[in-house]
Amino acid sequence: MYDLALTEELLLKIEKPVRYIGNEVNMVRKDPEKVDIRFAMCFPDVYEIGMSHLGMQIIYDMLNRREDVYCERVFSPWTDLDKEMRIDRIPLFALESQDPVFMFDFMAITIQYEMCYTNILQMLDLAGIGIYAKDRREDAPFVIGGGPCTYNPEPLADFFDMFYIGEGETVYYQMMDLYKEHKAAGGSRADFLKKAAQIPGIYVPSLYEVTYHEDGTIRSFVPKIPEAPATVLKQVQMDLDHTFYPKKQLVPYLKVTQDRCVLEIQRGCIRGCRFCQAGMIYRPLRERSLAMMTDVADAALESTGNDEISLSSLSSSDYSQLPGLCNYLIDHYRKKNVNISLPSLRIDAFSLDVMSKVQDVRKSSLTFAPEAGTQRMRDVINKGLTQEMIRHGATEAFKGGWNKVKLYFMMGLPTETEEDMKGIAHLAETIAMDYYQLPSEYRHGRVSVGASCSFFVPKPFTPFQWAQMCEMEEYQHRAHIVNDEFKKQHNHRSLSFKWHDSKTTVVEGILARGDRRLSKVIYDVYKKGCIYDAWTEYFNYDAWMEAMEENGLDYHFYTTRPRDLDEIFPWDFIDIGVTKAFLKREWNKAMAGEVTPNCREKCSGCGAARFGGGVCFESKSKVD
């Protein structure tokens, strides 16, 4: 038995000790003595969440293909172990070697959602390398951030040595080579950061100076030294067929959130929903070939023994090879008793046919994401789904034997009126009515239409980055309007309505469009004992509000304030390919209730064509 970082006594005391022992099937084993670079890939949430993340498996596989690098995994210790580690002064450790992270060369932290920010501080703190980047010793690992939240990294600026803005596949090899050179030449920490800043996509926050206007908005955001570029260009992997994809995926012992193989069939989205950040930052849409996907499916199922495989993308129905891939999976794997799950499919004749082959119609539910209750509101957000399409899809599904429908909505969208809110209840009612009007041979008991609602949080690099949020109480108020309307419906016993926590929405809103001044707030919140904000049982709204006040910051500045079209945003130094001019155009069209066609109907010249591939170069009409 090899040495574990935690004693047996401790492992027996805590919940799910298997989170901390590593040793899973397909774990990469290397002799740490024999590599040049030790790379800790950190996910600031608990093991079961982090291990469900495909991106992490891709980087793990990619870096470990290099003989000179040993990439190991680190997750946030759960709250029970967190306490013990502080008492016993046990440093944060990596699962593979069980060695402390402070011995590593890199600590790369993937930042998937705003509500994990205090967990990032937890990891830095437990690692013992200094929470603030400026306090780090010469021999401390370089702390680098990646993932969707780096498209506005500013609230975290003080804690990271650098951020990588782009898709993981592209520049890490270059960074590893540069680091080896640097290590051999023996330069200082500052020297390396200066060199790293010149790698495309790398942003070193300490090399930039921010000044503010009196009203708190940004006056200037400029590099302090010539080596740091004024704008950082997002890096994209254009050819998704000839790139890294793990053939041997890790097999956790614990039941993780995604206990299945995941096929990322495409990246990006053609739809252009105006609230959706992923839809903008991953432009342009790039597909993977059918041949690659079937290869990956075979290898992933064989190497894991998983009994389920799932497609992953923002809108799977737009994948041109979907019929071929579905048929392949059904033909090859249904008889081997592998479950096939197909999330984010548009409900139509094709998808209903496929779904009836792969799932138990009686038990499963259909999912629609109309996002808003009225056509007017859906036009504002550019969600190209009409009431007719939803009703038609649902009716077809009812005829196919389904009788459970789930609807996803957002509230607090820009220009939302009471009419729009009540429209959520009305849409649910209409679907239930449609069911009860079907001839009885199509009906199997009562229909169940469940609507669930989150509150809209404006995100950087979306047309809604200029939008005003509501006060926390206002979200509650609106939810109650909808809830009351649901109760008034004739079929209310077949309907249900749930909504998310509005306090979380406010904090997420502060952080999403925050600036550097929030680093101190996050620090103070952490010091008040907060971690795991993404878990409602640990989220402490008052601590956030207190910390804002103690730092002389008004949360309205980040949430409810109207923003000028020409305001310099904290994230404006990043170039995602999609231009600010396009986003402005989209914002104006939203206010006018005009829709924009999707990339396959008509190119709207968003700017992402500069990457030279993907959907932008499929044959179709173009604007010039």
């Binding site: 038995m1 090899y2 047996e8 492992l11 000790p17 298997v18 899973e24 012992y253 023994g305 998983n306």
Partner: protein, 239 residues
Amino acid sequence: MKARVKWTKTGVLKFIGHLDVQRYFHKAIMRAGLPVSFSKGMSPHQIMSFAAPLGIGMTSEAEYVDITFDWCYSGQEMLDRMNAQMNEGISVTEFRQIDKKTKSCMAQTAAADYLVTFRKAHYFVEAFTKRVEPFYFQEEIRILKKTKRSEKEVDISPMILEIRPQGDEAIFMKLQAGSEQNLKPQTVMEAFCNYLGYDYDPAGFMYHRLETYLKEDGKLLPLGAIGREVTEPVGPEEE
């Protein structure tokens, strides 16, 4: 064909819970590509049933699982193919064919042997090993049994079939096990601590299962003993 498979759980894998072990077996068998039988219906699952779960932190060299296969290779080959997919810590050691009608290993379990050893720096070992006899020969060994609703005192001595020191460093015990009467070695050590006037410290002991038994004609036999060796491949059954 139905097989009774014996397996071990040692090393760091002792921290894996029972449900995780089940998932681990399912996946290992899929990776090995073995012809396991599935239940019918829209969500088929492997036909597999485990004997009594082993608590987190315990090790064992005698766990059992009954698995139904459509057909199989020779026993040795089945073991080799499964072990090729297993991690250090869990491995299969015995593959025997049992009758389709045999009760599940869970239902058959009647008793188990354990070896209790002492983790360093918690207790003075001799205090235990030297006093096993007087502890065992008490009139009664009463222990407070807590359920969700009530607490009651029970006498566990009839469930201890055998207990003795093994060398200077360990205690061997044979206890009733299974769905009717189940006594955990932890409970015995707790009672032993009470008897000696010590606080029970769960971290002080290490528990290792040596064998699991069924009862046939009043005799205890290892769960695998009723099976037949599989020296040749077994073909699919004629319907």
